[in-house]
Symmetry: C2
Subunit: 206 residues, 2 copies
């Protein structure tokens, strides 16, 4: 099993390589790729070693080749459709975020249970009633969902997502979801991030 | 140096322990604390071992004692003031989020450069002009900031934050900030999270 941290770093390498390609660089060293990232060249080589050998020591890495390789590993070489559950303050901001398209993610449908919101269009997407989720998910063949409902309804909405065939949930609600092995949950907990920030910022060089 | 992942897990243990304390449990086992978290009891014991010995093998952990200990390590035993730079779609959602208070974080000031927004009140906070940041930061004695400005202004605004004495930045802009050693930056990159989700959700049990 490949560690989650390795996959997150691959995504950062992909972002760096895309920038280097915009600067018309064709062959780069590992330190050019990991510049500005808190990553050593050793860690970079170790991360890539999980996926076969790339680049030649002393010669460097071909930017276009490495981009293509990473896009395939990360599955962003083709469009990924996602659905959004909960179109509140955070959900609306996520719906309007153009950055997801940079990595081939497109929110194709959004669901809520607030009668005032259902039927309205936001960013070109009609807000659907949560009861219509199964029908819409199977029509679009979606496997991924963003969960942005309040903490008290997160577990029940997440169970509905799994029933509809969703296999990956990006969870913003500050609760630990208890779901079957059939689904992978990634939590984005901003409270946890701020605590980590507090801890490490107190230890920087003064 | 303690790994970032360990500190994130401590924050998750604290959240679990608070729930257990609400259920009036006074002594718990490590597996009760790590239940619903993708963490083994071994990992839990290893994480705690960085901070001295806690709990007795076979007897378990005192919930109130462990909560107090973790709150002190994570620095959430006293109020942490934070400022917000960028009050757009995401910044507004963060400003309205009550969850930060659960861990003693309070947004005390918000800054923007849009003349239409400056002077308006949102969630009880007056949006200030970014040029007044130094004065407000030193008045409140703030060390932490959330950065929610567009990617193209993130580097320059981050540099201003460091000049004002900010020592920790939670960065939502999808760029690698190049800052002095005096500041700790934690990136929340939702594109990276979605890529990791794509990778792992394709490998769950089918
Ligand atoms: N706002 C933030 O910056 C922020 C930050 C971190 C975490 N969160 C978390 O993200 C989640 C959303 O936060 P928010 O600020 O957007 O809240 P919000 O109350 O503004 O939005 C929640 C939305 O979910 C809908 N909803 C409620 N129950 C539902 C159900 N059973 N089925 C479908 N839709 C339902 C509501 O109608 C509403 O539109 C919360 O769990 C919150 O804790 C928010
Ligand atoms: N919206 C999302 O869900 C989302 C998700 C992931 C990442 N992000 C990132 O978060 C950041 C904010 O996103 P958003 O959707 O809220 O954008 P937005 O355009 O709605 O908000 C940006 C705000 O920053 C202000 N601003 C611009 N330049 C500034 C400067 N120099 N000084 C002070 N304020 C300045 C603008 O006036 C605006 O209010 C972006 O970098 C974006 O890539 C957003």
């Amino acid at each position: 099993r490949i560690p989650q941290e390795t996959i997150r770093r691959l995504a950062l390498y992909l972002r760096s390589l895309r920038k280097l390609s915009q600067q018309n660089l064709t062959i780069v060293s590992s330190s050019q790729i990991t510049n500005h990232l808190n990553v050593t060249s050793d860690q970079f080589r170790k991360d890539l070693s999980y996926f076969g050998s790339l680049g030649k020591p002393g010669v460097g890495y071909r930017v276009d080749e490495l981009i293509e390789h990473l896009e395939k590993i990360l599955g962003v070489d083709s469009e990924r459709r996602i659905i959004l559950a909960g179109v509140g303050k955070l959900g609306s901001a996520l719906l309007a975020y153009p950055g997801f398209l940079n990595f081939n993610f497109r929110i194709v449908a959004a669901f809520d249970n607030d009668p005032v919101k259902i039927g309205k269009k936001r960013e070109g997407i009609r807000i659907e009633d949560i009861s219509r989720m199964r029908e819409v998910v199977s029509r679009f063949g979606v496997r991924l969902a963003i969960l942005a409902v309040p903490a008290e309804s997160a577990q029940s909405v997440a169970e509905k997502l799994v029933e509809c065939g969703i296999r990956g949930i990006l969870n913003f609600a500050p609760v630990n979801l208890d779901l079957s092995q059939k689904v992978y949950v990634l939590d984005v907990d901003m409270g946890t991030e701020l605590m980590a920030l507090t801890y490490f910022s107190r230890r920087v060089l003064l």
